[in-house]
């Protein structure tokens, strides 16, 4: 009997951060809670694929998203979701490409469900593991100095120190304060103070990533000074310091050389149709070292395609994962396990609540899941309070 998807559902599930997250260079406080729009698809044998539809729900309504999920999945054979060869996914199954094209998150559910019905890991469907653990970085160091104004820059240093106490070996610091919320020079000085405070707090062995969310646009002079002042703090990568632009990135390369920094330059989270022209130009001209479209938005099929295109370059895989909640961590771990050039998982450190436990975390890295599919299931006890808001559709028998 073929495995048929007999029911699909869409349920909003609040996820809580470990603390309140403040502003970044352009957006107001993130807050303490975010929603995961959990999609569940159950097949005839009771296997269940999971993903989140946050990308679609940012743009449309429950009604429209349900229509989409119903059209894409309900009544479909599980084996008709993806094409495979020798146990590895090679692309969308016939007729499925149009569903995945702008909604890569759906392809993650397909990997999960196909893996569970076949009894194989999504890591194997992605090509097999290339590492035994996936490093992760704490991505929660926003403009915490605004939220807790008493300590100023030291507040971020203290929170970074706590992250290291909790086991992280890499942290990302949001910078770009002069972009909107502070005057440009004062913002740059605060950015410097924050980075130096973090280095002081975490010691020499922890990786520090810096992300300005374009907060240095139109201020290359200040960016030059910023890079100069923080280079002694040994920055591993500079992310989105300015909007993608060939001249700007050439200038940044020169700044790094001038100040003796070995940091990577990364960007690409804003690329909605990867690899679009400007990013391809940056890659071709060797002006970026890491490329960062979102892991859930583009999904596994989208990212497999990106990696094929990056194959003969030196650009590394660093999927954006912020806003993807608990589910995003699982999705990233599986993808990172099978990716040769994957650098580090962007970890929001969501308080676990509706999924079965994450793989073990030690020395700043997650071990690999051992179960079929993504190696994760819904924790029904944790999920129960949210069923009140579940939107469910079933095949009419």
């Amino acid at each position: 009997m073929p495995e048929i998807i007999e029911s699909v559902s869409l349920t909003p599930v609040p996820s809580s951060y470990q603390k309140e997250l403040g502003k970044n260079a352009y957006a107001d406080n993130r807050g303490t809670q975010w929603l995961e729009w959990v999609v569940r698809a159950r097949s005839s044998s009771g296997a269940e694929g999971i993903t989140i539809a946050n990308r679609m729900m940012r743009q449309t309504s429950v009604e429209k998203t349900l229509e989409f999920i119903e059209g894409a999945l309900l009544g479909r054979e599980v084996e008709s979701l993806l094409e495979t060869s020798d146990g590895v996914v090679t692309g969308a199954a016939p007729g499925m490409d149009r569903w995945y094209r702008h909604n890569g998150w759906l392809s993650i559910l397909s990997f999960d469900l196909l893996g569970k019905t076949r009894g194989v890991s999504a890591i194997d469907l992605l090509g097999g593991k290339v590492r035994d653990a996936v490093p992760a970085y704490d991505t929660t160091l926003y403009f915490q100095d605004f939220l807790n104004p008493v300590k100023g820059a030291q507040q971020v240093g203290d929170e970074a120190g706590k992250a290291v106490e909790d086991g992280w070996r890499a942290v990302k610091i949001k910078t770009g304060r002069g972009g909107r919320w502070m005057m440009p020079e004062a913002g740059m000085q605060r950015d410097i103070d924050v980075v130096l405070s973090v280095r002081d707090a975490v010691g020499p062995d922890v990786k520090i990533y810096v992300d300005a969310n374009f907060g240095y646009d139109n201020h290359l002079d200040l960016l030059d000074q910023f890079i100069k002042e923080v280079t002694p703090a040994d920055i591993f990568w500079f992310e989105e310091m300015i909007t993608q632009d060939l001249d700007g990135y050439k200038a940044m390369r020169e700044m790094l050389a001038k100040h003796g920094s070995n940091a990577l330059l990364t960007c690409g989270e804003v690329d909605r149709t990867p690899i679009s022209e400007i990013f391809q130009d940056l890659i071709d001209d060797e002006l970026i070292d890491g490329y960062q479209p979102d892991i859930v938005s583009h999904g596994y099929l989208g990212w497999m395609d990106i990696e094929r295109k990056l194959k003969n370059t030196n650009v590394r895989t660093i999927p954006h994962n912020f806003g993807n909640g608990s589910f995003g961590s699982y999705a990233s771990i599986c993808f990172g396990a099978a990716s040769e050039t994957y650098v580090s998982l962007e970890d929001e450190r969501i308080i676990p609540h509706y999924l079965t436990d994450l793989p073990s975390f030690s020395n700043g890295a997650y071990s690999l899941p051992t179960g079929a599919g993504l190696g994760v299931d819904i924790d029904e006890a944790g999920f129960a309070p949210h069923t009140k808001h579940e939107n469910k559709l079933e095949v009419t028998k």
């Binding site: 609040p14 807050g31 975010w34 449309t60 605004f146 909107r180 009140k388 808001h389």
Partner: protein, 405 residues
């Protein structure tokens, strides 16, 4: 009392001040409305302090600007105020502002919140309350409503519709006698029929919890757009729940409002229909709705309008003879915006009720605005009757200020 021209603007400070829903240092999450993600755990005031060479300081909240532009842009726009004396901004006769100087009209239009700080300064310089610059006091107290009851059922899913009722009960315990419920669940976050049902359940749960003496206001943020069938179901569903007003049930347009009024008249005739956060007076769709008798109250934003432009609109409405009331939008306004709203309400006959985002701040002292039985007293002290705790400011906030001098 002193000559206004002897007070020259010397310094401007802009400072972010964070606080939390509920109480300083701890709070609760305010959830979604019909269109936007969680409002969040806290709010912030962009404290604007305009100081004269005579040592007077006028206060306001620059958040309307900071919601749209950068601090750097605001800095550039406000620095032209430096060096000008308080006599230059408005014509004042008999203790009343009678017009805004053409030189400053554009700035006041763009940044209504600046006029709040100027009224505060002028009131202090003349030793009179800010409200008195607009007219005679028509009330000694201004009622406020708790405006922080969003889609709390998605924040606390286990409670469902009761989540908002639990928080409404907390608001009543703290003294409010009116609460506003965010509705419009069909708009985005719920399947439309289920969303309508939940909207009605929330109103039912809150009414049951707060009893019959508390005003319940509802606001759908246009969440019934495109679903007039469900809007009719909703209005029918609340027919025996004594809802005080229905706000932004759909995007303002004549045909839709005619249907809304028809259902209101049929099912819940005492409920007001209100709208108009974006109002700036005549030549707007809101004025057309007023002329057609489809709107009972309008809601321009207090800090966007500022005292003077809002007063001009109130006078225009009064002279027009239309029986429309005024209920300023004030959600982002935090502490200082609420105080401005109370001052405006004190002299505005048609003022209905003040929107209160229920934020408290350690930084401000405004004891004259005592809050009893859901109403704020109107203080008679000079200006806005609010001062800054200077010790706290120096210790915590000064390191975050931007100084224009």
């Amino acid at each position: 009392m002193s000559d206004l021209n002897s007070h020259v603007i010397k310094e401007i400070r802009i400072t972010p001040v964070e606080t939390y829903f509920g109480a300083p240092g701890k709070g609760r999450i305010v959830g979604r409305n019909s269109k936007s993600e969680n409002y969040g755990y806290n709010q912030r005031e962009w404290l604007l302090q305009i100081t004269t060479n005579s040592g007077l300081t006028g206060l306001s909240n620059a958040r309307p600007a900071m919601n749209k532009i950068s601090l750097s842009e605001l800095y550039d726009d406000l620095k032209i105020l430096i060096g000008h004396n308080l006599d230059e901004f408005f014509d004042i006769s008999g203790g009343r502002v009678s017009s805004v100087s053409p030189r400053w009209g554009d700035l006041i239009d763009r940044y209504g919140f600046v006029d709040v700080a100027l009224f505060d300064l002028i009131g202090r310089a003349l030793d009179v309350p800010a409200y008195s610059l607009l007219g005679n006091k028509v009330r000694d107290e201004v009622e406020g409503y708790d405006s922080s009851l969003y889609f709390q059922d998605l924040v606390n899913p286990a409670e469902g519709a009761n989540a908002a009722a639990i928080e409404a009960a907390e608001a009543i315990e703290k003294g409010w006698r009116a609460v506003k419920l965010k509705l419009g669940r069909p708009g985005r976050w719920f399947e439309p029929v289920a969303g309508t049902r939940r909207d009605i359940e929330v109103v039912e749960a809150v009414r049951e919890t707060v009893g019959s003496d508390v005003k319940i206001l509802v606001d759908a943020n246009n969440g019934y757009d495109g679903r007039l069938d469900l809007l009719e179901d909703f209005v029918r569903g609340i027919s025996d729940l004594d809802v005080y007003w229905m706000e932004e049930m759909i995007t303002e347009e004549v045909a839709g409002y005619e249907k809304l009024k028809e259902w209101r008249d049929k099912f819940t005739p005492s409920t007001l229909i209100v709208d108009g956060e974006g109002d700036k007076g005549r030549n707007t769709i809101y004025w057309e709705l007023i002329e057609r008798g489809l709107l009972d109250a309008i809601q321009p934003d207090m800090l966007h309008m500022g005292f003077w432009r809002f007063h001009e609109l109130a006078v225009d409405i009064e002279r027009s003879g239309f029986p429309v009331l005024i209920a300023p939008h004030n959600y982002n306004a935090a502490y200082l915006g609420l105080r401005a709203d109370i001052q405006f309400g004190a002299v505005t006959e048609r003022f209905v009720i003040a929107e209160d985002s229920t934020l408290d701040f350690d930084l401000y002292k405004g004891d004259g605005y005592s809050f009893v039985d859901g109403k704020y007293a109107v203080p008679d002290e000079p200006g806005l009757a609010v001062s800054v705790d200077q010790d706290l400011y120096d210790r915590v906030y000064r390191q975050h200020e931007t100084l224009i001098s």
